[in-house]
């Protein structure tokens, strides 16, 4: 801090520090602390706020634990986000390896351009594109019917549609970290393993994956977090049977009118995401600073 004063003088430093405090305290810390406060209080009519009934309790959390549907949707969201993460990893891994180790610079440049273009387009539009493609009387069903692969149209809305659209939305969050970490792998290491008689899958398992571990962990962490916190894909492509935890939270706020319970649910989601992020990074021994690069 003294360094800043020396460089830019007291008044500019005051401005910098004030801006940072406004942001960190006013826009990040205070909102989150108040959300925790809300989560721990009961939902009361305005007249009773501050009254004898307004005390801290875990009632909103035990409600979630006791309500079978919500609990099921919570675990389903975790489980489904894990599947999205896994599928995205499987889809991206070969391409990342090819880009980093096999493609010529021209090929890689072209492929990356092709990857980046859809990524610049916003997520709502990308989800809308899947909505149109997967419609009951839509193009995908028409093509599959014409090819004779199915005998009647399939209802894609539901888990399948959500999985397809989410994988699509998060491909780059998975691909680029893995690609970056694979790029630093010396081709000679792979050749050495091959010369020593290792099979392809063994080379990947023992040489490539350990080397790219940090990138794989980063990609998985981001994909999982984005999937668990997603709202648009389940709301456009889901069905009543594939509801997402974020949709339940939304209902507490704008239909159920119980913000306290909604805050508790949101807090559970936040803790889940942070726990998964920190645990994965710890397991893979990755530093937070490397993740946000």
């Amino acid at each position: 801090m003294r360094d800043l004063v020396q460089r830019f003088g007291g008044s500019l430093t005051t401005v910098f520090v004030a801006l940072v405090l406004l942001w960190m305290v006013g826009m990040v810390l205070a909102p989150n602390l108040l959300m925790i406060d809300y989560a721990l209080r009961p939902n009361l009519p305005p007249a009773q706020i501050g009254g004898p009934n307004d005390h801290y309790s875990l009632a909103n959390f035990t409600y979630l634990a006791g309500e079978a549907t919500h609990r099921a949707i919570f675990f389903k969201t975790i489980w489904a986000s894990a599947i999205v993460t896994f599928v995205t990893l499987v889809v991206c891994y070969p391409l990342a390896f090819w880009l980093a180790q096999r493609a010529t610079p021209a090929q890689a440049g072209l492929a990356i351009l092709g990857l980046v273009i859809p990524f610049w387009i916003n997520e709502v539009l990308r989800t809308l594109a899947w909505y149109i493609l997967l419609a009951f009387r839509g193009p995908l069903n028409a093509v599959l019917l014409a090819l004779g692969l199915i005998s009647e149209p399939v209802r894609w809305a539901g888990d399948g549609g959500v999985l397809a659209a989410m994988t699509y939305a998060y491909i780059l969050f998975m691909l680029f970290p893995i690609y970056n970490s694979m790029e630093s792998l010396e081709a000679a290491q792979i050749e050495a393993a091959r010369d020593l008689g290792a099979k392809s899958w063994r080379i990947h398992w023992r040489v490539v994956i350990p080397h790219a571990k940090a990138g794989i962990a980063t990609g998985c962490v981001f994909t999982f977090m984005l999937a668990a916190g997603s709202y648009i894909a389940p709301s456009l492509l889901g069905s009543p049977g594939s509801r997402w935890f974020t949709e339940i939270i939304y209902n507490w706020f704008f239909e159920g009118g119980d913000w306290n319970r909604g805050a508790a649910y949101a807090l559970v989601l936040l803790v889940l995401c942070l726990a998964v992020v920190l645990a994965t990074l710890k397991l893979a021994r990755v530093n937070l600073a490397d993740v946000t690069k």
Binding site: G9, V15, N122, A129, G229, Y231, C273, L288, T292
Partner: protein, 267 residues
């Protein structure tokens, strides 16, 4: 067929499928704009038309939502860029040990699900009687978009040569002048890139905005609500226009960055 050739064929098929997966939804969505059919689709093809662009042009609600998005994006840049820049400067000047902790705090909004950012903002401002609307959308979006600005500015600061500041001071510049004439010009490319990214992030945001929007309807919310209230290819026309704009913007951005890089290596 040898094993090497087989694996090349398998990989070729995978690569083709991958890019079909990547582009098919966008191509179908774009093509459906020109189909006469009331529901956006490409099969059956009922005839070529441009009338959906005309309908979009006449849609007052759409234009209102565009205006909301533009106002929000403008103020998000105004808030997030100075805040993120200040954060990067403070972060690089604190003691080594404090830096890790501060860094963790500063990137934490990026690790928070978007819906939670919106909810927390909504709850805080309810205490002082402010409900959802443009004001809260700006605050909630800025709270995490400032992280991106901070990261981009901090990356550029790492390459800053401090002796330039000392030289300016030695030549009699005031401390404010050093900031204004030495550091800011050096940061300019990062600030422009960050502002651009902030606009894009603001326009594209859905999760956070959904909770703090109140009765205001930015563009992404408008599009999503159309799916429920009656989707016509006019929405596809909007999507196509936005895709065209984003691709042009992205190209301009990449060219800009490329030039900066070329200049950096040349100079």
């Amino acid at each position: 067929m040898s094993a090497g050739r087989l694996s090349r064929v398998v990989f070729g098929v995978y690569l083709t499928l991958f890019f079909v997966y990547l582009f098919a939804p966008l191509l179908v969505m774009s093509a459906a704009t020109f189909n006469t059919s009331r529901f956006p689709t490409v099969i059956p093809w009922q005839g070529f038309t441009l009338s959906w662009f005309v309908e979009l042009w006449r849609d007052g609600a759409m234009w209102r939502s565009v205006r909301v998005s533009i106002v929000v994006a403008f103020f998000v840049v105004l808030v997030a860029v100075p805040v993120g820049t200040a954060a990067a400067l403070v972060l690089t000047s604190v003691h080594e040990r404090a830096r890790g902790v501060l860094y963790g705090f500063m990137v934490s909004p990026l690790l928070t699900p978007g819906v939670v950012v919106g909810i927390a903002t909504l709850i805080l401002w309810r205490q002082v009687g402010v409900g959802g609307g443009i004001f809260l959308i700006i605050l909630a979006q800025s709270s995490f978009i400032a992280c991106y600005v901070m990261l981009m500015v901090a990356a550029r600061l790492q390459r800053f040569d401090r002796t330039q500041e000392e030289a300016a001071l030695g030549l009699g510049a005031s401390k404010f002048m050093v900031f204004r004439r030495v550091l800011l010009p050096f940061l300019r490319p990062a600030l422009i890139a960050a502002a651009f990214l902030a606009v894009l992030q603001s326009f594209e945001n859905y999760n956070t905005t959904l909770f703090v929007r109140g009765l205001d309807t930015p563009l992404t919310i408008f599009i999503a609500s159309k799916v429920r209230t009656g989707l016509t290819p006019a929405v596809n026309a909007l999507a196509l226009a936005m895709i065209a704009l984003t691709v042009l913007g992205a190209l301009a951005y990449e060219i800009f960055r490329h030039r900066q890089k070329a200049r950096a290596t040349a100079g």
